[in-house]
Amino acid sequence: MIYFNNVSKIYKDATALDDVTFAIETGEFVSVVGHSGAGKTTLTKMILAEEMPSLGTVFFESINVNEIKNKDLTKLRRRIGIVFQDYRLLSNKTAYENIAFAMEAVGKTEEEIASDVPHVLELVDLSHRICHFPNQMSGGEQQRLAIARAIINQPELIIADEPTGNLDPVNTSEIVQILKKINDLGTTVILTTHNRGVVESIGKRVITMENGKIIRDSKHKK
């Protein structure tokens, strides 16, 4: 599904990714671990075409992400759900509207929005927060809302960039369970984290990064 071929990302005074090559298959749950600055976020940004590689190519199925055109970029992003460490919810929209916005973006009708949004909020246990704004919710609730927004359009891939970075252990475990459930339903998940405990609790493929390089991939180890 995702192919990184000898990808490097070089900024003026630093190398964020150094000759990275790997592939992710459909339905996999891949955890990318490493310290801050190891290149995890740069890697996810390249899949979203937020950053372009200095060298090498990134493919999302048959799409060469490096050469994507503006109108195709929107289409690509609609196939991917994203969860950030800092939630990045729309602060002047309620929980309902935050999810509805993602549905409106892909052209869903009002009826579909009205029937799907309460359902997904129930799935992440936020039915009681439907009319609340993000700043009226706890960190864990905001992250669950972000996950609900990411999955509402049934994307083929979920990218969760340090989703548990700001959460306590109870909320962390809840978020991990939700992500595992999403993966069990067939969606590919890429999770970046620097928390070894999270990775161990998932027990799936782990890519370890250091200074922009992949130093270990549990898939090949097997």
Binding site: E50, T74, R77, F101, A102, G107
Partner: protein, 307 residues
């Protein structure tokens, strides 16, 4: 589909405006100040235009004919003058009327009237009063009178004198004052309009700067550019619309006061002017306000869209 998107964009704009609270009203305030500047400029231009017209109206050129000039020839000259594109009006005063006007004007001046009575005959000739469309055009009219074309009707000159040459320096001075005032008015207008646009653009840019992170997130969740940009542009329309309403409402009592207190000083009743041109002013303000709002929002969002 397009209709649903449009409806969502409109709804999004109104919701953003409502939820941004003070930030929205700050933007409305700045657009209102800009529209007030534009209104003041419109009204000042009206005062300037009115004053200049009054001055222009006082200028004319009189062509005095010899007493022997026949009325046919004078009327023939009058009609050829009227054909000139520079000429606005030509009025003819015959010798008898000229004498009557002279007597009326000097009715308290006994020696003059007595002298006139002693002559017995009418010493005054007929004259034509010529008004040009523009003050600057008197010279070309005077040149026309000097040329043969004007006098083709008779070989002997029937013109006694043309007072343009006596008034030339005054007319020239007036002409330069009028064109100077018009140029200055235009420059001041241009300067204020540019300043207002820059200030408004920057304020709207700041209101959108607050949302720059969210614009990025909207793009990442797959929203099209128009879906992101639309609501901000609708917000711009709302700023312009509300600012226009506030401006016309503010100027209503202000102009009533000006009309009551300043008409003698300005020579024009500003309240009457405001009321009689209300719809034109309203349209200018609405187009300026809404246009400024839309264009500023469009440009400000564009900066964050390509991420």
């Amino acid at each position: 589909m397009a209709f649903i998107s449009f409806k969502r964009i409109i709804k999004g704009g109104f919701l953003n405006f409502k939820r941004s609270g003070l930030v929205s009203w700050a933007a409305v305030l700045v657009v209102t100040v800009t529209l007030c500047v534009i209104t003041i400029i419109i009204l000042l231009q009206a005062v300037l235009h009115f004053s200049l017209n009054q001055i222009k109206d006082k200028v004319d050129v009189a062509i005095y004919f010899t007493t022997s000039a026949s009325e046919d020839k004078i009327l023939s000259l009058k009609s050829s003058l009227e054909k000139l594109p520079e000429v606005a009006t030509v009025s003819y005063t015959n010798a008898d009327e000229a004498l009557k006007i002279f007597r009326d004007r000097h009715s308290n001046d006994y020696p003059t009237i007595q002298a006139l009575d002693e002559i017995g005959t009418n010493p005054l000739g007929a004259y034509l009063n010529v008004k040009a469309k523009e003050v600057s055009q008197y010279e070309s009219i005077a040149n026309f009178l000097k040329s043969d074309d004007a006098l083709v009707i008779g070989s002997v000159s029937i013109i006694d004198k043309v007072n343009y040459y006596q008034n030339k320096s005054v007319i020239d001075k007036l002409n330069s004052i009028i064109s100077g005032a018009q140029k200055l008015g235009f420059l001041v207008t241009l300067l204020f309009v540019i300043l207002s646009i820059i200030i408004t653009f920057n304020t709207i840019r700041l209101t959108i700067f607050i949302s720059k992170e969210e614009i990025g997130v909207m793009r990442l969740v797959g929203a099209s550019k128009m879906h992101v940009r639309g609501p901000f542009m609708i917000e711009g329309v709302i700023y312009g619309f509300i600012a226009t309403l506030i401006t016309v409402i503010l100027f209503w009592p202000a102009m009533a006061w000006f009309g009551a207190k300043m008409t003698d000083f300005l020579g024009i009743n500003m309240y009457d002017y405001y009321i009689s041109n209300f719809f034109q002013i309203l349209i200018i303000l609405l187009l300026s306000g809404v246009g400024l709002g839309i264009i500023s929002s469009f440009l400000a969002v564009r900066k964050y869209l390509n991420k």
